[in-house]
């Protein structure tokens, strides 16, 4: 395949998200400006200007009209996707890390980092139909986990909230009361910080990637560990194919560590694994730096990867990808 290279960001990428129909790709990076691209040919559509810090995460509503972004400048902003205007800004006392729209787009999960004595929190805010009516009230606030929460998402039917973070434990919370329902098993779970989490389209299972060089597949309802995929480097990003039984995992070293590790450890590819057999299918090379973000197009026919090098690479699969036999 001939990947399309998009160099719109000057700093490392942090997150990639496709809209529901798969025609728009949103990219977040440490350069303060989330960008939206057309997902078929990679042409840039626009940028959202307003943040003053690295943008860690974003989510787009079901009808692709609203965008929510979480940033290190201690704010979460709500944008109009089409025009780029900022509709609302939620302000916090610490950097915001992860955002996720609920099914129906009426609520949004926002996580904040532990900062200056404040513990990390998971907050649920209501999103009003009309931006004029938007308020900053939290419907629910959960304070509990030690360490940074890297990702928190809604469970099936908005009944639960699933969080994963630096303490390497996955927690499931009740979304109405905030009570802790389940925790992942310490022995079989990840041993180091969980960097990324990706839900399958029907939310029945999800994939987490961790700095302990593995990615694990979990059942949502029971939080049982289903599969483990072994990598040879810390995992920064994971994604599950909506079409085939494939998962893709990307990783690499942080820039800080490169000089201290063997030069040969710096190969940067996105690795494909068979979801059920756990075998490696292959790798897609190309990034000049660690891969920080991965996302599959909802139609499963293309995927994109964002790296520490600031590039977004958009790959449309060749026809022989769909007939891979293990």
């Amino acid at each position: 395949m001939r990947p399309i290279l998009m160099k719109g960001h000057e700093r490392p990428l942090t997150f990639l998200k496709y809209n529901r129909e798969g025609d728009l790709l949103l990219s977040c990076a440490k350069d303060h400006t989330p960008t939206v691209w057309f997902a078929d040919d990679g042409q840039r559509l626009g940028t959202y200007r307003g943040h003053n810090g690295a943008v860690w995460c974003c989510d787009v509503s079901h009808d692709s009209t609203r965008l929510v972004t979480g940033s290190a400048d201690q704010s979460v902003k709500l944008w109009d996707v089409q025009t780029g205007t900022q509709l609302y800004s939620f302000n916090f006392n610490s950097p915001a890390r992860s955002v996720d729209f609920s099914v129906g787009d009426k609520l949004v999960i926002i996580t904040t980092d532990p900062f200056m004595g404040n513990p990390s929190t998971i907050q649920v805010k209501r999103i009003a139909e009309d931006p004029e009516d938007q308020t900053s009230d939290s419907v629910l606030t959960i304070k509990g986990p030690q360490g940074r929460i890297n990702r928190a998402v809604w469970g099936p039917l908005n009944k639960t909230i699933i969080s994963a973070g630096e303490d390497s434990i996955i927690r499931i919370w009740d979304s109405e009361t905030g009570r802790l329902l389940k925790e992942s098993d310490k022995e079989s779970g990840h041993q180091k910080t969980i960097s990324s989490l990706c839900m399958f389209t029907d939310k029945s299972h999800f994939l987490t990637g961790s700095a302990d060089k593995s990615a694990k597949l979990w059942d949502t309802r029971s939080l049982t560990l289903l599969k483990t995929y072994q990598m040879d480097r810390p995992v920064n990003a994971v994604a599950i194919s909506p079409l085939l039984d494939h998962v893709v995992i990307g990783g690499g070293q942080e820039a800080v560590n490169v000089t201290m590790t063997d030069r040969r450890a710096g190969k940067f590819e996105a690795k494909f694994y068979h979801k059920i057999l756990q075998d490696e299918i292959g790798g897609v090379k190309g990034h000049f730096g660690p891969i920080n973000a991965l996302a599959f197009n909802p139609d499963g026919r293309s995927f994109s990867s964002g790296g520490e090098d600031g590039y977004v690479r958009l790959h449309h699969f060749d026809p022989d990808y769909f007939s891979i036999r293990m």
Binding site: I4, D23, D40, L45, G46, D63, G84, K285, F288
Partner: protein, 293 residues
């Protein structure tokens, strides 16, 4: 600003590349109009536009793009409408010459790990079939297509030269250029002792060549002499290539030297390839000796 936005034509089918820029400046009337030579049978589209650069000089910008249909996609009505949204944010003044989005010139494969029992990776011979002995394999260096035309007849000669991805292609596909690769991969043989080299009369020319020596660093571990040769020969005749190999592991130690016959070629190679991405690493190319001027 608002007045300018509404003046932009709202017709549905206009592609952003063909939209005239509204606010290009006061001296627009001095510039010839933009010319778009539509996609020809190879899908090549040439757009020639003029603008003023920072010093006020008239600059002609020719952008050659290859328009390729990747495939049909079923697009929802909403998605079709979104295709026609106006650009906003930093993308507002995007013109044809913007190099933000580019198709990779390298073909990237999903590389299967070679385990016993699995099928071989599909070879990248592009439908060539077995090469008959004695047949001539026409290789074009610019676009990499084989069997079609030589480099000088390449229809795509204006496009970026794709690097020959030696490390990804199986070596059988490059039968035509196998000759320099014949030299041993096992031990280093100095050029004076290699078979087929000139013996007499090369001392002086070689000494002069050593001043045209270019050091290449940050090579990937499976780079070898033939790869460097292929990469650098486009700048001119190369008299010698050397890649430092770790005898114990057989891997490249990350650096090598290329000696050009002509100084100017070495200079051009340095300018062009320094910072060039090759096999996922960014090359550093510089003079081997302190700048001989």
């Amino acid at each position: 600003m608002a007045a300018v936005e509404s003046a932009r034509p709202q017709a549905a089918k206009l592609r952003w590349g063909e939209l005239e820029e509204d606010d290009a400046g006061d001296l627009d009337f001095l510039l010839p109009p933009r010319v778009v030579e539509g996609p020809d049978e190879n899908g090549i589209k040439k757009t020639t536009e003029y603008r003023f650069d920072e010093d006020g000089n008239k600059v002609k910008v020719t952008t050659t793009t290859r328009v390729r249909k990747l495939g049909k996609a079923r697009v929802s009505k909403k998605a079709k409408e979104r295709r026609n949204w106006a650009k906003f944010g930093d993308a507002v003044h995007e013109d044809v010459g913007s190099r933000l989005t580019m198709v990779s010139t390298e073909e990237i494969l999903l590389e299967r790990p070679r385990a016993p029992g699995t099928k071989e990776e599909p070879s990248v011979s592009e439908g060539l079939g077995p090469v008959q002995p004695g047949a001539v394999l026409m290789v074009c260096r610019t676009c990499g297509k084989k069997g079609d035309h030589w480099t000088s007849k390449c229809p795509y000669k204006d496009l970026a030269q794709p690097p020959e991805t030696f490390v990804e292609r199986p070596s059988t596909a490059d039968a035509a250029s196998a000759a320099p690769g014949g030299a041993g991969r096992s031990a280093y043989v100095p050029p004076s002792m290699r078979g087929g080299g000139e013996r007499t009369g090369t001392e002086m020319s070689r000494r002069r060549n050593d001043e045209n020596s270019v050091r290449v660093t940050n090579l990937s571990e499976d780079t070898r002499e033939p790869d460097l040769l292929e990469l650098f020969r486009t700048f001119g005749p190369v008299s010698r290539v050397y890649v430092a190999i770790d005898q114990k592991t057989g891997m490249s130690r990350g650096f090598g030297f290329v000696n050009f016959v002509h100084r100017e070629d070495a200079e051009r190679a340095i300018n062009k390839l320094n910072g060039y991405g090759y096999d996922n690493l960014i090359l550093r190319v510089e003079w081997a000796t302190p700048r001989p001027n």
